[in-house]
């Protein structure tokens, strides 16, 4: 697969930015991140977007608008890990332009319910892309994540899958979702997991389990609290997006 040749530009470190005063990010320890993890460039602008959606006083309208902006950036970054092939076209001036063509079918799979919030952003970038759904809940007896429902495109095994879930906390449900995808014939290296915020712990567990799988995350936060919520985080993404 040629996507491995698309080495992303290393994100500029917040400390190098003139007005950096960031205590949220552990991106300064990016060097210790697993090689399958890619963050967005940690610019002041991105930090400002996160600051808006983290703020508990942000209105629902603003939460929608600004989280959509981040999601679009994440999807754009995720797509850069898909393979392309050389392609030449003729321009309106009659010249030949040696460009690239998109290769391989893709589909989205959102983990209900918060993952659905990322679908609009996905479709703004990938027009009319097919989207599968997974519902995973915690089993009250075993306390383990359990698959309640899934619905995928018929030919999902032949597609690259963009797995959508806004928050990677412990990584339990995301790992369960990957298990389900692999049971449906999707190979690990054809899955790209896209999320807005990760905990360092969850990221470590997830990447150790699926080293071939690429993770695109917007921001890596400080860690988890005793209830396994991401700190500082932004609260419950699905609640804020749909219910508040």
């Amino acid at each position: 697969m040629s996507s491995s040749s698309n080495v992303p530009v290393p994100p500029p470190q917040p400390s190098l930015q003139p007005n950096a005063l960031s205590a949220n990010s552990v991106a300064s320890s990016t060097s210790s991140l697993p090689s399958s993890v890619f963050t967005l460039p940690q610019t002041a602008q991105l930090e400002a977007l996160y600051t808006i959606i983290r703020n508990k006083h942000t209105s629902r309208g603003d939460f929608l608008f600004y989280s959509d902006r981040i999601i679009r950036l994440l999807v754009e970054e995720g797509l850069n890990h898909l393979p392309v092939v050389k392609k030449s076209v003729v321009t309106p001036t009659g010249s030949t332009y040696d460009g690239v063509g998109f290769e391989g079918k893709i589909c989205g799979v959102s983990i209900l319910r918060a993952g659905e919030a990322m679908e609009a952003g996905l479709r703004e970038v990938c027009r009319s892309v097919r989207i599968g759904k997974i519902l995973i809940q915690r089993d009250e007896e075993t306390m383990q994540p359990k698959l309640f429902y899934s619905k995928f495109p018929q030919d999902i095994a032949k597609r690259y899958v963009l797995l959508l879930d806004p928050m990677l906390a412990t990584g339990g449900s995301a790992m369960k979702a990957v298990d389900v995808l692999m049971e449906n014939g999707v190979s690990e290296d054809r899955i790209i997991f896209i999320n807005l915020i990760s905990s360092p712990e969850g990221l470590k567990t997830f990447c150790e389990r699926f080293p071939q799988l690429k993770v695109i995350t917007g921001w890596i936060d400080q860690g988890l609290n005793e209830k396994a919520y991401i700190i500082p985080g932004l609260g419950d993404f699905g609640e804020r997006r749909y219910c508040e």
């Binding site: 996507s3 698309n6 530009v9 007005n19 005063l21 960031s22 205590a23 949220n24 610019t43 002041a44 602008q45 930090e47 400002a48 996160y50 600051t51 808006i52 983290r54 703020n55 508990k56 006083h57 608008f65 959509d68 902006r69 679009r72 950036l73 754009e76 797509l79 850069n80 898909l82 392309v84 392609k87 076209v89 003729v90 321009t91 309106p92 001036t93 010249s95 030949t96 332009y97 460009g99 690239v100 063509g101 998109f102 703004e124 970038v125 027009r127 609290n225 919520y229 700190i231 500082p232 985080g233 932004l234 609260g235 419950d236 804020r240």
Partner: protein
């Protein structure tokens, strides 16, 4: 009374136009008023007209008419500059006991500063005076971009600061009894006054003031014009004005932005080293998007979709250039989060019509709550020079005080010859926007086009572009039918190579 004291009179085109699909009124366009260094090359031509009250306005309008097809002629009336009155003064005014005909009734300082701004091609917000209320109103009227300004009023030659601004000083002579007759006719009809009030005012103020303040200023005039039967005098004035404009335009015409004027050493200087020219990182997705947009076989539907996607990426990238400051918030878990917030006082977009509008959807996906202004700039089919046809800027930019703190995203599809980019940046600078507050967002920049002149003239403007095209070549464009091109023949233009074709046409037509 209607607000006739400030008129931006556009003259009808000298050539009649048949109704056509493509129309461009060249005679209404304003050619460049700056040189290749970005600096203004000439002021507006200012005519001061003073003298007997009613005839002054009449003569000013006659001059406008005689000037014919000059793009923008602005009449600036002294009446707009009556001072703000106290309640006592207003009471006197309603009793016709206030001396409106003294030079002190007029805010000469403001008159001169507005005129100085307009003469120097800056915008001005002219006060609005209501004769019904005898008061200056809260509102102002925005004016920008006049080629000729006619400052008229009985006291127009009174103030030395004003006199210094005139390129031509005109005094209108009239018989006293005619003056009175016209005054009665005007004030009863247009200003709703009674005849008794008018007569009282005339004897008490108008006549003495005319004798003491107005008539003596005829000594300053370059030409004295009779109030009636003055066709010859008007002809002299308009001929003189046109010749003056012609001489000025000769100095700024050539060598603006044709690619032949660039020396090879400048062309070879890599644009990639310019810190204020930012090119998007060439990711595989970006290359794929450009491959689709460049192909001549791409459907309109795809062209629109991928243009919107590209403009979204561009504007997200451009936003990194704004200033941000530390900002502390509390998350729903009630923990503090140290982040950042946008640190700009004012923000707006300005798109260059028509193809700049192709970036607007992407712009609105990223910034949804700021005004977007437009500039209509087209090129003259005869010599390819840019022509400014319309200016609709956000209020933030119209007022100089806020323009200085406003960040402006200028949107245009590409920078080829750079002529439209050049003109639009000049317009923003004329309004007081700071050069380093302008961020130009575009899909394509041509390495061998006008970009070098543009960078040299405005080095602090930042440009965010999708990519750089190496080459510009001559091409033929379907001509807009109109003046000088009635048969709609094709126009020789410079096109980007490999380019994306005519982006505006592919996005809209």
């Amino acid at each position: 009374m209607s607000q006739s004291f400030l008129q931006q009179e556009l003259q009808p085109a000298s050539v009649s136009l048949k109704s056509q699909k493509n129309t461009l009124l060249i005679s209404h366009g304003r050619p460049p008023w700056y040189g290749p260094d970005g600096q203004r090359t000439s002021d507006a031509f200012v005519i001061g007209v003073a003298g007997a009250s009613t005839d002054v306005t009449h003569v000013a309008r006659q001059i406008v008419k005689a000037l014919g097809s000059i793009p923008t002629v602005l009449i600036l009336s002294q009446d707009s500059f009556y001072k703000h009155h106290s309640p006592e003064e207003i009471k006197l005014a309603f009793e016709s006991k206030f001396d409106f005909d003294s030079p002190h009734a007029i805010d000469m300082k403001l008159f001169a500063s507005c005129l100085a701004d307009l003469k120097a091609c800056r915008q001005s917000n002219i006060p609005v005076y209501s004769f019904e209320e005898h008061q200056r109103l809260e509102e102002t009227k925005y004016a920008y971009g006049a080629t000729v300004i006619i400052a008229e009023g009985i006291m127009a030659l009174q103030d030395p600061a004003l006199r210094n601004l005139y390129d031509l000083k005109v005094y209108v002579q009239c018989d006293s009894d005619l003056m009175l007759a016209r005054r009665i006719a005007r004030d009863t009809k247009e200003r709703g006054r009674s005849v008794d009030g008018i007569l009282e005012q005339y004897l008490r103020y108008v006549k003495p003031s005319y004798d003491n303040f107005v008539r003596p200023t005829s000594a300053f005039a370059d030409i004295i014009v009779p109030g009636q039967n003055n066709e010859v005098a008007i002809e002299l004035i308009s001929t003189h004005t046109r010749r003056q404009l012609q001489e000025r335009s000769n100095s700024f015409r050539p060598k603006m932005v044709t690619s032949s004027s660039y020396s090879p050493d400048l062309i070879n200087k890599p644009l990639e080293n310019d810190p204020n020219l930012m090119i998007l990182p060439s990711t595989s997705q970006l290359k794929g998007i450009f491959t689709i947009l460049r192909s001549k076989d791409t459907s309109r539907q795809d062209f629109i979709f991928f243009t919107d996607r590209l403009s979204t990426i561009l504007v997200e990238h451009a936003l990194q250039l704004l200033p941000y400051s530390p900002h502390l918030v509390t998350t729903p878990l009630d923990v503090p989060s140290y982040g950042k917030k946008l640190d700009t006082k004012h923000l707006c977009g300005v798109s260059i019509q028509r193809s700049g509008s192709a970036l607007e959807r992407g712009f609105l996906r990223v910034i949804n709550d700021v005004p977007i202004g437009t500039l209509l700039i087209q090129s003259n089919s005869q010599d390819g020079e840019p022509l400014l046809l319309d200016v609709k800027l956000p209020l933030l930019v119209r007022h100089r005080s806020s323009a200085q703190d406003t960040w402006v995203f200028l949107l245009d599809a590409q920078i080829g010859t750079g002529a439209a980019a050049f003109m639009s940046i000049r317009i923003l600078l004329d309004h007081g926007v700071q050069q380093d507050h302008i961020i130009f967002v575009t899909f394509l920049v041509a390495r061998t086009g006008g970009i070098t002149t543009l960078r040299r003239a405005f080095p602090h403007v930042r440009i965010v572009s999708g990519t750089i095209d190496n080459d510009m070549r001559e091409g033929w464009l379907e001509g807009d039918r109109g003046e000088g091109n009635e048969e709609g023949r094709k126009i020789k233009i410079w096109v980007m190579n490999p380019g994306m074709g005519q982006i505006g046409d592919r996005y809209y037509l």
